[in-house]
């Protein structure tokens, strides 16, 4: 089956600034595709080009095999959920959702039916005549999504729609959006700078930096096998060390921490270690581990996500280590010295960026 969205050599220049640089990717039907990147990486520019609000400087966008060049936003088979939702304040919920259908000249009775169906689907049945200003953040969110989905677009574009919500509601909406997408089956393209949103909701994530994709992968792979230093640093929490040398089975940080890694390549510049890959109080029987001692500097208590900040004995490197909240580690205090270890496969090395 041909992909629902195909982007070829897409490029966008603003005067001398290249916002999107030669992007190539495809999105399959039914995907929840996230584009994850820091602010200013060009993700919004790219989304606006797909929606038709911006003309690409170079390259083509195909939706269901059809070239979108020169087609204005009101005639593209995509709809967008805006960052600030952009609900029409002078219309009630029903009028907002009906707006798109009215533009298509759908008969009144059918509009009524489809609007009611859609409102029911997003859990807002009976809210027809409410003013959008009377709704809560989550409800407004759902109106915005309903307003787009009622048009049955090929692709729904979402521009950080959870950004304005408070944390608790955001966590809730993440799950809700994922379930809604599964139920409806529409292809979602979701842009965000929040890695947790991207990882939780999507089945494909593209990590974007400086107008280009660093990696397109499943959330699991992105986390476990980041291809570049940028991805390793941006997705998930991690410790980063600058390497003084690498190769011949060993790595050495700037401050002299030596670690064994058989397949270590020469010329590596960065070493990444995830906080949860450090084993505290390792079993002495286990083999092939890089064993070391840490002195606990501080305990950063955060429930299930508690970490300790420790100083590696010998080199003085500072490292964050995940601290499980179970009985084994209950007695740990600041200033304690602990046995720790890392498996060589959890040492991820990358060359200096741009080389």
């Amino acid at each position: 089956m041909s992909p629902i969205l195909e982007v070829k050599h897409l490029k966008k220049m603003f005067k001398n600034f290249t916002a999107v640089d030669d992007l190539n990717f495809t999105v399959e039907e039914g995907d929840f595709f996230s584009i994850l990147g820091p602010s200013g990486c060009g993700k919004t520019t790219m989304l606006r080009m797909i929606a038709g609000f911006l003309e690409p400087t170079e390259g083509e966008i195909y939706i269901r095999g059809e070239n979108m060049a020169g087609i204005p936003p009101n005639r593209r088979p995509v709809n967008m959920v805006f960052q600030n939702l952009a609900l029409f304040p002078m219309m009630n919920v029903e009028r907002n959702v009906a707006f798109g259908l009215e533009q298509r000249g759908v008969p009144k009775s059918e509009i009524k039916k489809r609007v009611n169906d859609m409102l029911e689907r997003v859990g807002l049945a009976g809210y027809n005549t409410k003013k959008v200003t009377q709704l809560s953040g989550g409800q407004r969110q759902r109106v915005a999504i309903a307003r787009s989905l009622v048009l049955e677009p090929s692709i729904l574009l979402l521009d950080e729609p959870l950004g304005a919500l408070d944390r608790k509601l955001r966590e809730h909406m993440k799950i809700e959006l994922k379930l809604l997408q599964k139920e409806i089956g529409t292809t979602f393209i979701y842009i965000t700078h929040d890695q947790s949103e991207a990882l939780v909701m999507s089945n494909k994530v593209a990590v974007m930096n400086h107008g280009d994709f660093e990696q397109i992968d499943t959330p699991q792979n992105l986390y476990k096998n980041p291809r570049t230093a940028f991805v390793a640093g941006f997705v998930g929490e991690t410790n980063r060390f600058e390497l003084a040398q690498s190769g011949h089975g060993t790595l050495e940080t700037r401050s002299g921490w030596k670690l064994a890694k058989k397949d270590a390549k020469t010329g590596m510049h960065w070493l990444f270690i995830r906080p949860e890959s450090v084993i505290l109080l390792p079993d002495p029987q286990m083999k092939d581990l890089n064993r070391f001692r840490v002195t606990i500097k501080t305990i950063l208590f955060d429930g299930a996500n508690t970490k300790i900040s420790g100083i590696v004995e010998g080199s003085g490197d500072e490292i964050l280590i995940h601290l499980p909240q179970n009985a084994k580690f209950e007695g740990i205090r600041e200033g304690d010295r602990l046995e720790a270890a890392i498996h060589p496969r959890d040492l991820r090395c990358y060359p200096k960026e741009g080389s």
Partner: protein, 287 residues
């Protein structure tokens, strides 16, 4: 404690306002209202009478001026809106911030010289030996000067010119708060440019349009200088009738009656306008 402080401050700030309203607006109006219902009897004494109001209904020239004033005031309001709305839209949504600010400044400029001076400016441009006729004749488009001044055209022109700022300021502030993404969202949902204008932009700006229209309408209705100086001999304006009664005929009672009729007229038209456009006065004046 604090509520008492609050109340004291409230009284201090409210007193001048109430005094101003009472001494300059309420009391004179009551006085004029009483005067409007009085007329001299055969002995030259002032007695209660409906004669002033009867005169208005029996003398067709008053009627004619009254309707004419109302019609042209509405016309000027509509023309002012049609000119300033695209302007306000351009300043807020299309022009860059700097250009928008500069254009707003330009709109303010005519008010630095005062109404009288700008009216004379228009006279210099429009009169038979004026700049426009001189250029048109020089180019050879016309052979004898066009009668541009002292008619309804020049009067409406002057009134629109003087009213523009009062329309454009509320429009700009209304459109400034209109989020661009609303326009984009409408377009994304399939709306044409025309639909976006009629269903999103105009309804959004409606309170601004209403307040601009009310201010312009009242100002034009009560204007005296532009109709008098630019309108010429046949361009009667109801304020001129009031002026004539007060100053020329020394018939204050008749003038007071006309004044109240004008007040009634503006109230009725504003009320009708609000009803027809489903707007509310409190929203329009920004409460």
């Amino acid at each position: 404690m604090s509520s008492r402080h609050f109340r004291l401050g409230f009284i201090i700030f409210l007193t001048p306002v109430l005094l101003w309203l009472l001494t300059l607006i309420v009391i004179p109006h009551i006085d004029l209202l009483i005067a409007s219902f009085q007329a001299e009897n055969d002995q030259g004494k002032l007695v209660f009478s409906l004669e002033n109001y009867r005169n208005f209904f029996t003398d067709s020239v008053y009627w004619y001026t009254f309707v004419r004033t109302a019609f042209y005031s509405i016309l000027v309001t509509v023309i002012t809106f049609l000119i300033t709305f695209p302007l306000a839209f351009y300043i807020t949504k299309i022009a860059s911030k700097r250009l928008g600010g500069f254009l707003s400044m330009l709109l303010l400029l005519p008010f630095w010289v005062g109404e009288l001076v700008s009216i004379y400016g228009w006279m210099i441009l429009l009169r038979e030996s004026g700049v426009i006729n001189y250029i048109l004749q020089g180019v050879g488009l016309i052979h004898k000067p066009l009668p541009l001044l002292y008619n309804d055209f020049s009067m409406v022109l002057g009134l629109v010119y003087m009213s523009m700022l009062f329309m454009v300021v509320p429009l700009i502030s209304a459109l400034e708060s209109l989020d661009d993404s609303l326009i984009e969202a409408a377009s994304d949902l399939g709306a044409s440019k025309f639909t976006i204008f009629t269903r999103i932009v105009i309804p959004y700006a409606a309170p601004g349009i209403t307040s601009g229209a009310i201010v312009v309408f009242m100002l034009v209705l009560g204007d005296y200088l532009s109709p008098d100086l630019l309108g010429g001999k046949n361009s009667l304006w109801f304020t001129e009738q009031i002026y004539n009664e007060f100053i020329a005929s020394f018939n204050w009672n008749q003038g007071a009656a006309f004044g109240f009729l004008l007040l009634l007229l503006s109230t009725v038209i504003v009320w009708l306008g609000l009803r027809l456009s489903h707007q509310r006065l409190d929203k329009a004046v920004g409460a």
